[in-house]
């Protein structure tokens, strides 16, 4: 852990403690004093280590908030025409900010490359030498959902700058989601909250479980993944195809576990922290690797983003009610933009396209079979197949270039040999993830996301012991940044 990470972590913890104690003392009164803690954003998370950017990024953040507050005022206008105009203006402003920070360089580079390839000219497209604010994709999408909901009259417009600022900068989920909806979070700022023992226990459990997923599972998986992918991250050294395809396959499985635990771990910590403050934020993951179809997977993975894309992109495009062609087109556009949301790189675009194609194929061929009652074995086989499809997607997601994807596939299918290092990787994978898998099987079989509530006391005690001891003993020493902080 770097000094900056440590500082950030300690600031976060101090902030949680102060906010929590502050709320307890103020005994859930409604008013300004209620939500001021959520406005004081941990700016270390939003800015890079370079202090010269912090005022600019603070400005960007405040601009986003202001756009939405101004829009809230304007939404009170009676003329539908004007309301629509200001909605488009607000969305445009949000997208411009996101586009400039996140996608400008990507499109500029590709435009230059294309112009050079097609017309043999090198256009003078400047490159912006700016840093990407952490979590910008999350909070721009969150603000956009608010303005659209206000326009659709699903959420009541808030004319309070502080209220909207608190909603946008609600610190537990600010940097990596879930992308909260105004209709869920805003009313919680307005009403009184009570924190009882059950909430307290559940909040602490969620934080510990999230930390376990991140520090014990994800960070240790990262060691396997990084070691295996490292030789391929540099294009010049990728000429040799590894003879032990099993090792590469294990690395892909490890990445599937890493990205799930990394992201869902953060979501759990966010939910737990919010719970300690008396808030309920949405569940972002529902056992995604237990999905039995690609559609099912997207109902369980990053739910806040997939429902966002469904509500604000897929359905407005026509959804599945405008014929087969439009359905497939809408699916492809949604998944493509979903991929691009993750980052400005062709591998993310390809990942989105891959999932788009899979969903189209599934829609085209599978609906009839879905109606058939499947037995346990068929369900398991479907689950395994879906998991491997998703894993292929993760390979595209993690690879730095297309050559790496080719090398991995060649090695796995043409040289499926198991080296000592592959066994070592597999041992580590099982060692660090066995408890998570066991717990998830329990979650799936009991059909409850928090099966702890149904566990007998004795079992609960053992689970707490395992989680706490694992955090103290098995947490990876190096410490890794959350993957989704980059988005």
């Amino acid at each position: 852990m770097t000094a900056m990470q440590r500082l950030r972590a300690s600031m976060f913890l101090i902030f949680v403690a102060i906010s929590f104690l502050g709320l307890q003392w103020r005994a859930v009164k409604v008013g300004f004093s209620e939500w001021y803690p959520y406005i004081i954003v941990d700016w270390n998370n939003l800015i890079s280590a370079n202090p010269k950017y912090q005022w600019m990024l603070l400005g960007v953040f405040l601009a986003i908030v202001l756009f939405n507050v101004v829009y809230s005022f304007l939404s009170l206008l009676r003329s539908e025409h004007r309301r629509r105009f200001f909605l488009v203006f607000s969305i445009f402003a949000n997208l411009i900010i996101l586009g400039v920070f996140k996608y400008y360089n990507f499109f500029a580079d590709n435009f230059s490359a294309l112009a050079e390839a097609l017309f043999n000219i090198t256009p003078n497209v400047g490159v912006l030498n700016i840093i990407l604010p952490v979590g910008i994709s999350f909070y721009t999408f969150q603000t956009m959902s608010y303005t659209i909901d206000v326009y659709r009259r699903r959420t009541e417009a808030s004319c309070s700058l502080l209220e909207v600022a608190a909603y946008v900068s609600f610190f537990p989920q600010l940097v990596a989601g879930p992308i909260e909806r105004g209709e869920n979070l805003l009313p919680q700022f307005q009403c009184s909250r009570t924190i009882n023992y059950v909430d307290l226990r559940e909040g602490i459990w969620l934080i510990l479980w999230g930390l376990y997923k991140k520090m014990v599972v994800a960070d240790n998986m990262a060691r396997i993944v990084n070691r295996t992918f490292a030789p391929f991250d540099n294009l010049s050294s990728t000429s040799v195809i590894p003879e032990d395809g099993v090792r590469l396959l294990v690395a892909i499985y490890a990445f599937a576990i890493q990205i799930y635990c990394d992201f869902s771990g953060y979501s759990d910590i966010a939910r737990g922290t919010a719970k300690l403050l008396g808030f309920n934020i949405m569940v972002n993951f529902k056992l995604p690797y237990f999905a039995k179809s690609p559609i099912d997977f997207w109902r369980r993975w990053h739910i806040s983003l997939s429902t966002w894309l469904r509500d604000y992109l897929y359905i407005p495009l026509g959804g599945n009610r405008a014929g087969a062609f439009k359905l497939y087109r809408n699916l492809m556009i949604t998944m493509l933009l979903g991929g691009l949301w993750h980052g400005a790189a062709w591998t993310f675009v390809l990942w989105g396209v891959f999932h788009g194609v899979i969903l189209i194929l599934y829609r085209a061929f599978a609906p009839k079979s879905e109606e058939v009652q499947s037995n346990w074995w068929t369900s398991v086989l479907k689950g395994i197949l879906t998991f491997h499809i998703v894993c292929f997607g993760w390979l595209i997601f993690r690879a730095q270039n297309l050559t790496t994807i080719g090398i991995f596939l060649q090695s796995i299918f043409l040289h499926p040999y198991c080296s000592a290092e592959a066994i070592d990787c597999l041992k580590n994978l099982v060692f660090y993830s066995w408890f998570l898998i066991l717990f998830q099987v329990l979650q799936a079989s009991s059909k409850i996301l928090n099966p702890m509530v149904n566990f007998p006391r004795f079992l609960r005690l053992n689970v707490w012991i395992i989680v706490i001891m694992s955090l103290l003993c098995l947490a990876s020493k190096g410490g890794q940044e959350f993957i989704y902080f980059a988005f």
Partner: protein
């Protein structure tokens, strides 16, 4: 009514106690199954010369996920399976070994320590040698100098071998036994007994010995307390004292840096270490013994090692005979020379390599020859 209430309370207390005991057992099991902790208990005694010393006549075990070894000390606290009189037998070449846990031979049984290996090789080569291991865990060079004066020289050594470890830099300053004043080494304190008295007290009891030697959870809790409580407190304390001293202009480190206001902490540690080593050498030379340093390398990986021994000007008196086994280690590419889950001491293989290297080095440099030593001369006996 009252009795039933009392019964309830007793049941409640029993339930809490049972839960606590169960938690301890479960934690112990967890550690044993998933993350074994090396158990290297070590009791200290307070010596007559005001330092920590090994306990007398002790026989105990070190258990780690990688090894289980025996440590035995004689009536003088020397790691040996016999009594060693101060008087030297006729024709015997005596080597006194000074050092910390590396020197004492943590990680291996007595017959596998590098000192035993060196002795064996010397004897096989016809040198009637005897090595007296005066290593004490966590010692720095400052303590080693005191031990040499107070104890080591009584053994009438022909050669003094010092196992030098990079941790000695910090330990020399920490102990505050010696300091530098105008570049000269001066004795600052008579004693240095960090936690020695409490350890001496605790290790008197068999129960505590058993806990320290067998319960992984106990060691784990101590590590956690060290990592999350004592270390941060010590860091804050050091920083505070640095701030106070910089404000007052006469703090510890400031006083230590009288000779050179621009001297950094690292420079001070280095200069102090060199001066202590020079003093050890002077003691050896004035007692007709040669002096040799074994520079313990820092392991970066199984194939990469690093020396942290201070470079110093090489005039005749201050020039040290330093043996570094890095080249020998590199020849054993990929083999386990240091234990990897047990605080990083030498494995039996590491000790064999070091023992052989030391014996060859001592031979090649003539450190055990029969010439007499000159005060300002080179390292010839």
């Amino acid at each position: 009514m009252l009795i039933s209430q009392m019964h309830k309370q007793i049941r409640w207390v029993i339930r809490i106690l049972w839960k606590m005991v169960y938690c301890l057992i479960a934690c112990e099991l967890f550690l044993r199954l998933f993350s074994p902790v090396p158990l290297l208990p070590h009791g200290y005694r307070v010596t007559a010369y005001g330092l920590r010393g090994n306990e007398f006549n002790r026989d105990y075990r070190h258990k780690t996920p990688e090894y289980c070894i025996n440590i035995r000390t004689n009536s003088k606290g020397v790691r040996a399976d016999r009594e060693i009189p101060y008087e030297k037998a006729e024709g015997v070449k005596r080597i006194v070994l000074l050092g910390d846990s590396f020197g004492m031979g943590y990680g291996v049984n007595l017959e596998d320590t590098f000192s035993s290996q060196m002795q064996k090789l010397l004897q096989e080569s016809g040198v009637n040698s005897e090595i007296i291991n005066l290593g004490v865990p966590a010692y720095g060079n400052a303590e080693e100098l005191v031990v040499l004066k107070e104890e080591g020289l009584k053994y009438q050594p022909d050669l003094v071998l010092l196992a030098w470890h990079p941790s000695d830099y910090a330990e020399n300053v920490q102990s505050n036994l010696f300091g530098l004043e105008s570049g000269r080494l001066v004795r600052k304190n008579k004693t240095y007994l960090p936690k020695a008295r409490i350890r001496e007290f605790l290790f008197r009891y068999e129960v505590y010995r058993w806990i320290a030697g067998n319960l992984q959870f106990y060691k784990f809790i101590r590590n956690v307390i060290y990592l999350y409580i004592r270390k941060p407190i010590a860091t804050v304390k050091t920083k505070l004292s640095a701030i106070i001293s910089s404000k007052s202009g006469k703090g510890d480190m400031e006083a230590k840096k009288q000779t050179d206001q621009n001297m950094t902490d690292e420079d001070y540690q280095r200069n102090l270490t060199i001066e202590i080593l020079k003093e050890i050498k002077r003691e050896c030379v004035s007692n007709r013994a040669t002096f040799m340093i074994f520079d313990i390398p820092v392991k970066l990986s199984r194939t990469e090692f690093e020396s942290h021994f201070p470079e110093c000007d090489g005039n005749s008196v201050d020039h040290f005979e330093v043996f570094s086994p890095i080249e020998l280690f590199r020849r054993h590419r990929g083999e386990k020379i240091y234990w990897e889950k047990s605080e990083g001491h030498f494995t039996p293989l590491g000790c064999r390599i070091v023992g052989k290297g030391l014996a060859e080095f001592a031979f090649s440099k003539g450190l055990l020859s029969n010439k007499s030593a000159g005060l300002d001369g080179d390292v010839a006996l």
